[in-house]
């Protein structure tokens, strides 16, 4: 599904946090949002599935106005992976992933729901501890469970908030391969991420945010030293191979 955002503004308790955001993401496109801590990435993602309600602007999903859609209907279309999550009471890995089926099921999960869940658990390599409590998992394992839940939801749009932040090298690649696969299957992906190399490697489009505003947006070719330095305050070297971009931080730029 397409996402079309126009003139979006958001404030936390009157403090403007997102200013005049405009964005178009096409069907099956993989967009990475990058920007320093506190630049508004999480806030922006939360607006895209009505966890937060912006005070101005419009968000269209295909031709539907997000504001007019019911939560239950949004949940059938949009999956969300939060930056951090910790439950009050423990649940098993299986039950957590099964929760992703909630928007689609009635009271008792059908055998189709259970099958989808076990497939996703298998795909994410969680089988060996599927009945364990998620509180007894490592941070990275838990992050994978949460990603698995969003995949079990089978959304048309996937919002990921730093999905690789606690994963090791292999799992970072694994999760992003799976996410890329989703995009190839026409799921629209919007991901916030701090690792510029990963963003460059897997995304179709890049959105650079700074202080609640869009600094720049476009293809991965916008990842240039001239753009990165003013956003992060770090000077970088950027190398380009035929289809690969390498970004290496040099030093913190003086203000």
């Amino acid at each position: 599904m397409k996402i079309n955002i126009e003139g979006l503004e958001f404030s936390y308790n009157g403090k403007p946090t997102l200013k005049n955001m405009n964005l178009k993401v096409g069907k099956g496109e993989f967009l990475s949002i990058i920007g320093p801590n506190g630049s508004g990435k999480t806030t922006f993602l939360k607006c895209m599935n009505k966890i937060l309600t912006p005070k101005q602007g419009s968000i269209l999903i295909d031709k539907y106005d997000l504001n007019k859609l019911h939560r239950e209907d949004i949940a059938k279309l949009v999956g969300y992976i939060p930056q951090a999550e910790r439950g009050a009471f423990p649940t098993s890995v299986f039950d957590t992933v099964l929760m992703g089926r909630k928007p689609h099921m009635k009271w008792i999960p059908s055998s189709k729901d259970l099958e989808i869940v076990s497939d996703v658990i298998d795909m994410m390599d969680l089988s060996s501890f599927s009945m364990k409590n998620i509180n007894e998992l490592s941070g990275g394992q838990r992050q994978k469970v949460i990603i698995a839940r969003a995949l079990a939801q089978q959304p048309r749009i996937l919002l990921l908030d730093e999905p690789t932040s606690s994963l090791d090298l292999k799992h970072q690649l694994e999760v992003l391969e799976i996410t890329r696969e989703q995009a190839n299957n026409d799921v629209t992906v919007v991901m916030s991420v701090h690792d510029l190399n990963l963003a460059a490697r897997y995304s179709d489009k890049i959105l650079m945010m700074k202080d609640g505003e869009i600094f720049h947006g476009g293809g991965t070719d916008i990842l240039t030293p001239e753009n990165i330095e003013p956003v992060y305050g770090v000077s970088v070297d950027v190398k380009r191979d035929s289809d690969q971009i390498w970004i290496m931080p040099k030093k913190i730029a003086c203000k």
Binding site: D73, G79, M99, L114, S127, M131, N133
Partner: protein
């Protein structure tokens, strides 16, 4: 195959938990029969059978069963279930293991309402023979109920005014609870001895107070509210992962939380007003169940009902038989029985906090 193994493990796990639930049902049935037969006057199984099949329609056994034991036993079952599921729902929507009708001040408010009615409206007196009589139990109960609902309304209004966060509701509940406790003390200070006795007597949770009518009123609300809670179990599951995640899974978080609080408060206020204060069941039963079968609300809520019934009925049976022919109020026993059981589970059961 790996995939089937995951499913098999899950099905096996669910199967075991269902078996546990089934055992609880069986145990509850047996205990109900035992409770009907035993008390200051012992009855035989044949007598009970004849009464239920209509072969005996008068006499001692008939009177004891229909007018004393059955309403009492069923009140224990229904009140235990209602308190336990209310506690479970409150803990889930407030995401706090300390939430219960007691901690949220509902019992304190009820006690205050009853005191007001007994002392200010004179709906209770103690006769010189020592027997405590509540002249007009309905007015006392109504007053207790009104106060509990008022307290809940204040909590919810505060939550609505600010933001419906669990912390605000719990803190407001605790604050109101101590306010009502102070109010009760103040009233008692100015009351006469006989009135104080009535107030204290009212506060003892006792399932033998109820008649068929009151049992009917309690059931009329406990049963549908419990079904409604169970129907919402996936919403509560989602809420457990955090408000943001729950919203992303299609749950209208604020509405769900406020409605669950209204349902749970209403049911517990009703029970407390008619039966008196029975602490512990609402707080501890959900934890026991979580420790025994885990946190999936789809099982947690119905099994909490069963365990609540079991605990309250067991306590009541002990209370009626322990120092026979003297009969203790059940509220005292629930804590005596529940606390060690709970401590045992803290030591032995699965950990989650």
């Amino acid at each position: 195959m790996f995939q089937n193994q995951v499913l098999d493990e899950y099905r096996k796990d669910i199967g075991q938990k269902l078996l546990f639930g089934l055992s609880a049902v069986t145990l509850l049935t047996l205990l109900t029969i035992y409770a009907i037969l035993n008390g200051p006057v012992k009855l035989t199984y044949t007598e009970m059978y004849s009464v239920f099949t209509g072969q005996i329609v008068s006499g001692t056994a008939y009177n004891i069963i229909w007018n004393i034991r059955l309403p009492q036993v069923l009140t224990a079952v229904v009140a235990g279930a209602g308190l336990a599921i209310s506690g479970a729902a409150m803990q889930s929507v407030l995401k706090n293991p300390l939430a219960s009708p007691f901690t949220l001040g509902i019992s304190h408010a009820a006690a205050f309402g009853a005191s007001c009615s007994i002392v200010l409206l004179g709906t209770g007196t103690t006769y010189s023979t020592g027997a405590v009589v509540l002249d007009n139990p309905y007015i006392t109960s109504l007053s207790a109920f009104t106060c509990s609902l008022f307290s809940t309304a204040v909590i919810l209004a505060l939550a609505k005014l600010k933001k419906a966060t669990p912390e605000i509701m719990i803190l407001a509940g605790i604050a109101l609870g101590s306010l009502f406790t102070a109010g009760t003390s103040a009233i008692q200070y100015f009351a006469e001895d006989t009135q104080i006795a009535s107030v204290i007597f009212w506060q003892f949770g006792d399932v033998s107070k109820t008649t068929w009518n009151e049992l009917g009123i309690i059931s009329l609300f406990v049963i549908p509210v419990s079904i409604w809670f169970a129907y919402n179990s996936w919403n509560y599951n989602a809420l457990n992962s955090g408000d943001d995640t729950a919203k992303s899974l299609g749950v209208d978080v604020d509405k769900l939380r406020i409605r669950a609080m209204i349902g749970a408060s209403f049911v517990s206020a009703l029970i407390v007003s008619l039966v008196g204060i029975i602490g512990f069941v609402g707080l501890v039963v959900p934890h026991m169940v979580r420790k025994m079968i885990g946190g999936n609300e789809m099982l947690l809520l119905p099994v909490s009902c069963l365990m609540g019934s079991l605990l309250l009925l067991a306590s009541d049976t002990v209370a009626r038989n322990i120092i026979s022919p003297q009969v203790l109020p059940v509220g005292i026993i629930t804590s005596f029985l529940g606390a060690p059981l709970f401590i045992y589970l803290i030591i032995k059961g699965r950990e989650y906090w």
